[in-house]
């Protein structure tokens, strides 16, 4: 199975290379190259999925690697790991990517950088698929960064807009914070186990080479990477801003696939997460789920509502994984990818139409503002129906895929809380977020699609349904929002149990053994032999218990979703409740939700101003101390050279000149004797001889 997987991985890369170098020379800007690469990748992925389904083996796993780097004893392999999770992820990524490619043909038509857009999309697909296929943490990290890079390129795709360029930078820098933690985690694993391969790590932990506090630290450090990439609190700030990118990008990267990479990583590391790390992860996810949902309630930009909804749903997945509901968390990743991509593409369709209409009337109103829409149902029926179906799925209405996955997450957290009553807050987060989700999504649907159009009849005449190349993806994705696709062969609309998904991706056993986990759970030291015996009946018991809990969770879940939908309908459809009045009544709370709980402002004051202040201190230090030192040494050198110059002029030159002067004077004197007349020389000689004679006589 590795050869087809290699094709899936390399086809988008080849498409990227072709597009970058020859794209503009190809007919239609070369979009068909990218489309072919990803659709053929989808076909191969579906073939792999079919194989996995026929095998129907929860333990299916295939690896293939080549030696990449050798540093002394350490050998790093570049390899692929293909198991059920990989195959499911391959299908999700290629499917969403493929429909987004198709959609972009319509959405990006006429853009001056049409070809480049498709090249980037292909590059993103390559990075994401590599991340999914990678077999060791270092390879995952490499693709992780490539994904971050393509995300940066696509957020800032319309870099002429300052806001888009800044959003790209913000995403990149915020992710860097999380990635630093992840790198530390990888290095911790490497230093303690000497391997980074996923199976090697699990084996190492199982052998007890890594445990205790260090294992918790590893789990939390690696989770930091997921916090950045999956936009969990407190590193969530980049995701809403990333909506500055083109809408297909928002659908593909910032809703369905890339942001799921963090969840995917946590799921991959699930087996080695210690209890403490799991609890931290669960709380971060749960808090994010509720926190983001409250913000989504008060936003007016259609894409921002969806962005905060994405944050909230990612929080769900993370919470599920933290609470041990592995299958549920990963299941939600898959179902969420479908309906959130559909929602984003639907919002893109709406924005496309609004933009067109507003342009015709010469209005400069915001095409993304919900307050400018209304009554689009009649003008864009297909967009409306697909949007409504995926909204129902997101809200967790029965018979939809979202109901199955969200419900099992809530059941999982409820089960976790019933085992550990201290953590009762987790299901509360979950149910509260579920109610808010239903509320804000129906608010969005009512504001956009019901009532009357708010920008006047003139603009309304120019509203029209999007081209079919944009509608087909919506239809494909909304079809996949129904429960049936995920629960075959049991076809049970209430639970994923019995379906292929739950069968192929059961919750794996913790690598460090049931004994240690049980010890963690009870926070007591348990002798391993005893623990197995204790845990086994307990597990059976919890299976019965979980069924009861599941039913309770389902009831509450349906109730809160219905409540949210009801309140939204009263407020925005039947007009029984005045939203404006409640905005005033809620006062501070509403302002907080509207201003995103001032997180950006807080970061401005702490991180940004702090950095700027520190920069200023450093600048002062640079100007005064460093420059002062340099200037001082320059001044000293100049003074010294002045002194030595003076010495040179007066002392050295003086000496030389004096010598010359002295020689000159002497020469002038001696010259007197050089008359040139021989006879006088003889006289001198005679005088000299006479002198010698006299002297010798005197002695």
């Amino acid at each position: 199975m590795t050869e087809p997987a290699l094709y899936i991985l390399l086809a988008p890369l080849a498409a990227f290379a072709v597009m970058i170098f020859f794209g503009k020379k190809l007919p239609r800007g070369g979009d068909w190259v990218s489309l072919f690469a990803i659709w053929s990748g989808l076909a191969v992925s579906l073939y792999l999925l079919a194989q996995v389904l026929f095998a129907y083996d929860p333990d299916f796993c295939e690896t293939r690697s080549i030696e990449w780097l050798v540093w002394g004893d350490f050998r790093l392999a570049a390899g692929m790991l293909i198991d059920n999770m990989t195959v499911v992820m391959l299908v999700v990524v290629t499917l969403v990517s493929a429909v987004v490619h198709l959609y972009s043909v319509g959405y990006m038509r006429g853009d001056p950088r049409y070809t480049l857009f498709f090249a980037y999309l292909s590059f993103f697909s390559f990075s994401m698929l590599g991340l999914v296929l990678a077999e060791n943490l270092i390879l995952i990290y490499a693709f992780w960064e490539l994904v971050g890079l393509s995300s940066y390129l696509l957020i800032g795709f319309w870099y002429e807009k300052d806001s888009a360029a800044n959003a790209g930078k913000k995403a990149f820098i915020t992710n860097r914070v999380g990635d630093a933690g992840m790198l530390i985690g990888i290095l911790l694993v490497l230093s303690s186990l000497g391997t980074v391969s996923l199976h090697g790590i699990a084996d190492g932990v199982a052998a007890g080479k890594l445990g205790g506090g260090l294992l918790t630290a590893v789990g939390i450090c690696l989770f930091m990477g997921a916090v950045g990439k999956s936009a969990q609190f407190p590193l969530h700030v980049w995701l809403p801003d990333a909506m500055e990118g083109p809408t297909p990008v928002s659908a593909l990267i910032h809703a369905a696939t890339m942001v799921a990479a963090g969840v995917y990583l946590v799921a991959r590391l699930f087996v080695i997460l210690s209890f403490d790390a799991s609890v931290v992860i669960a709380y971060v996810g749960g808090f994010t789920a509720l926190f983001a949902a409250t913000i989504a309630v008060a936003q007016n930009d259609i894409k921002r509502v969806l962005a905060y909804s994405t944050l909230s749903q990612l929080g769900y997945m993370v919470m599920a994984l933290g609470a041990g509901a592995y299958t549920a968390g990963f299941f939600h990743l898959v179902t969420h990818a479908m309906f959130k991509a559909c929602l984003f593409l639907g919002s893109g369709s709406v924005i496309h139409a609004m933009h067109h209409a507003l342009q015709h009337t010469g209005s400069h109103a915001d095409a993304q503002d919900l307050r400018n829409m209304g009554g689009l149902r009649r003008k864009m029926p297909l967009t409306f129906w697909t949007f409504l179906i995926s909204t129902l799925a997101l809200c967790g209405v029965p018979l939809m895929s979202g109901f199955l996955s969200k419900d099992s997450i809530l059941a999982g957290t409820l089960a976790f809380a019933s085992e550990h009553p201290a953590h009762w807050l987790l299901p509360v987060f979950g149910f509260a977020a579920a109610a808010l989700t239903a509320f804000y999504m129906f608010r969005l649907v009512y504001l956009a699609f019901s009532g009357t159009f708010r920008m006047g009849a003139d603009a309304e005449r120019h509203l029209h349904e999007s081209p079919s190349v944009m509608i087909v993806p919506l239809v494909i994705l909304s079809t996949l929002c129904f429960f049936g696709f995920y629960t075959l062969p049991a076809f049970n609309p209430t639970t994923p149990e019995g379906g292929w998904f739950a069968h192929l991706l059961p919750t794996p056993a913790r690598a460090y053994g049931v004994a240690h986990y049980a010890a963690d759970l009870s926070h007591e030291t348990v002798v391993p032999g005893e623990a197995f015996e204790q845990v086994a009946p307990h597990a059976e018991h919890s299976a019965h218990g979980s069924h009861a809990i599941h039913t309770i969770a389902m009831m509450i879940s349906i109730f809160v979703a219905g409540l949210g939908i009801l309140i939204a309908s009263m407020g925005y459809y039947w007009n029984r409740i005045s939203p404006a009045l409640w905005q005033r009544r809620l006062g501070f709370v509403y302002r907080g939700m509207y201003r995103k709980w001032w997180i950006d402002e807080i970061y401005d004051v702490t991180v940004v101003w702090g950095t700027l202040g520190f920069t200023r201190v450093l600048t002062w230090f640079d100007l005064r101390v460093i420059d002062g030192l340099v200037d001082g040494s320059a001044w000293l050198t100049r003074q010294w050279s002045r002194l030595s110059g003076w010495f040179d002029l007066r002392g050295v030159d003086g000496f030389v000149n004096f010598t010359a002067w002295f020689v000159g004077i002497w020469g002038r004197f001696v010259r007197l004797f050089q008359g040139g007349q021989l006879q006088r020389y003889i006289l001198y000689t005679l005088a000299g001889v006479g002198l010698v004679l006299i002297l010798s006589v005197l002695q």
């Binding site: 050089q674 040139g676 007349q677 021989l678 006879q679 003889i682 005679l686």
Partner: protein, 101 residues
């Protein structure tokens, strides 16, 4: 009277006369003649010392050399004088002061 002393006295007289001639005469030829006197006084000294002291012929040989050198020197000097005359139209030595410092 010691006969060596006689020779030496004559030699001194010759030497002094030659020296005076060199120093005082303006005509180049006269100066040359003074030089010849000095050379001859030296030659006389050689012969006299040879005769009265050692008994070998070294002194005489030196005298013969002196005579030969004097002849060669006279030839060279006369050639110089001719050139001097051609250059300055005179044979007076105090006109030849080109080497003045």
């Amino acid at each position: 009277m010691n006969s060596l002393l006689v020779y030496l006295t004559i030699s001194i007289v010759l030497f002094v006369l030659g020296l005076l001639a060199m120093m005082t005469r303006k005509n180049a030829v006269s100066v040359l003649m003074g030089i010849e006197l000095i050379l001859n006084s030296a030659g006389l000294n050689f012969v006299a010392f040879s005769r009265f002291s050692t008994g070998n012929l070294n002194g005489q040989t030196a005298a013969v050399f002196v005579i030969i050198v004097a002849a060669a020197e006279a030839a060279v000097a006369l050639a110089i004088f001719l050139n001097l005359y051609r250059l300055k139209a005179t044979a007076e030595v105090d006109q030849a002061d080109e080497l003045r410092g």
